[in-house]
Symmetry: C2
Subunit: 393 residues, 2 copies
Amino acid sequence: MENFRFYSPTEIVFGKKAENEVGKLLKQFNAKMVFIHYGGGSVAKSGLLARVTRILDDEGIDHFELGGAKPNPRSGLVYEGIKLAREKHADFMLAIGGGSAIDSAKAIAAGTKYEGDFWDFYEGKARITDALPVGVILTLPAAGSEASQSAVITQEKGMLKKGITSWFYRPKFAIVDPEITYTAPMFQMTCGVVDMMGHIFERYFTNSRGTELTDAMSEAVLLSIMKAARKMISDPGDYEARATLCWAGTIAHNGLLGVGKKEDWTTHFLEHELSAFYDVAHGAGLSVMYPAYMEYVMDVNPERFRNLAVRVFGITDNGHEDAESLARKGIEALKEFYREMGMPTNFQELGAKEEDIPELLKTLEANRGKEFGNFRTISLEDAKNIYLLACRK
Amino acid sequence: MENFRFYSPTEIVFGKKAENEVGKLLKQFNAKMVFIHYGGGSVAKSGLLARVTRILDDEGIDHFELGGAKPNPRSGLVYEGIKLAREKHADFMLAIGGGSAIDSAKAIAAGTKYEGDFWDFYEGKARITDALPVGVILTLPAAGSEASQSAVITQEKGMLKKGITSWFYRPKFAIVDPEITYTAPMFQMTCGVVDMMGHIFERYFTNSRGTELTDAMSEAVLLSIMKAARKMISDPGDYEARATLCWAGTIAHNGLLGVGKKEDWTTHFLEHELSAFYDVAHGAGLSVMYPAYMEYVMDVNPERFRNLAVRVFGITDNGHEDAESLARKGIEALKEFYREMGMPTNFQELGAKEEDIPELLKTLEANRGKEFGNFRTISLEDAKNIYLLACRK
């Protein structure tokens, strides 16, 4: 087990009608002028925004709003938000939404307290040393940003998609009401399933030793996610399935399942180029890239992939097959699960093109350099090969 | 899944030589006069105390010490600590030890800021509204108090052993260096194994529905604890086994494995009477009580006990046996595991006596009333029957 630091201080308020606690939570953090940041119109249309602003009004907490955070949230809106936060003297950021609204809110929170360009943080030119406190009302279990220390933003100049981590990015609270997700489109929910499983995979693919406890917990969460996702598909009104996905999405990315390990994140890096280039959903890009990545790197530790196949993907080990063969069956079963969820598993289904690979590699190099990855060091040649594997139907 | 609130803000610094971070952590919390509280002489003898005070001296942080916290920590030392903390104007409690030193430190932390008798908190006459911040250097993985919101104290007047919970009882940080446990006696380590498994059992025995995710994680942690404990027994120098136990002990009791569930705690209540009456180790009392409790209540939900048997205790379900029969085999396997660890599994081995049961029931009633428990409501008659089951060899 590697030495580690685990600090996940976000207060999670979880369950039916949890959003009714928002006023009390904001008061707990002494919020007086709340910047409500959200994404598309659904937060307004569903009546959630009105419910929240009414609670704030009742508590005598001032507030103003900025919507428009898109999937793969853009720098333009962050700049606009920073300007607005300063003009209105915001002292608290309340994100209502999924990963996009939350990540955008985190970047605004840090940028507001920084004199330079917030993108400096993302280019490694400056470190976050202060930020507005952030709270979250989650509408989609997926990114795990509601309790994570990371936020991913796409810089519109050059369409560079980058993520950074900071202790200041840990939300103070996260309100999670699984019933709110009933109005989310099923495609967004299944993208979320792929994303949260990915957050576990990136931590599971490690060369660190002595990680059996965290591995076992990760396998338990992956299994539960897959079961709950299938239940949700067959019965979208199943509360327990949605509650399971909501909680799984949070713990998949709050750091718990990465303790004591060197993490990887290669597939996220490869995918970020797809979602930046084609503006496709992050989860859809991931379901294309994971099987390709896993196939390409499994010879680093076939036993680890064999375990995943047997313990999570339901492959039977009859004692006559080698680890590599079982691992391949596991990857095929993962692909089958993605298909069951209606997710793409190759470039064509995603709307990506083999002939664009040189372009993807260019921005990949600009974002990550010539080499990256921990489980296996990935060169740009390796990256090309993985993209090519992902082109196969 | 029940609605829940999960807030576990303790900063965990984990790994080899983690104790070297203590000065930096104390400065982070602006500590100027640190009250170092510990248990027996081993903290001093091992050189740990000297190492810590040297670090504090180097950082220019003032400090003073009070040792003597015993297993089943007593009210007398808490009163003494409160007096001392006030005299010396302590602004931070640093516990070095296992659950006893930590729980004693928590009670001192709360009592110092309260004008009345700290025991008021334990009798429900007052609520904690302020406390000195508490930090921990853990020496024994067991109680999980390093990241929990609870502390158990034995009031010497009447030998009442009671636990309470409070947000103020969450330590600010917990330093966990698995190498420190090398010097702990093996009996204490195996008591710790029983205790941490118990913290999971108390949350596993629930009638709440939709708990599959937390159940699966709990089973994963239980399995990992049992594997690591066996490794530690056969090779006491195995770092990874000790690291696994240390981390498992923390997450077994930081609330993670109880989310979305009504918890139980009956067996802890029954055991507290044993450790208060006979002053035996809490873990030893628990290994006597769990099999008896489980056998007595399993008909509430045989399926749940069957799952535990099959998923954790290695019982094979060949499809021809009913849940109850498998559940019984599971309980027998748990007993066998306790014996393997050298732990007692009945009153005689513990040094308890059947004829004392009426006395145990008297203090049980004083502490818990005529009925308690969630998984199954336990009357005093039930409690008597469970104690009687625990007398069987």
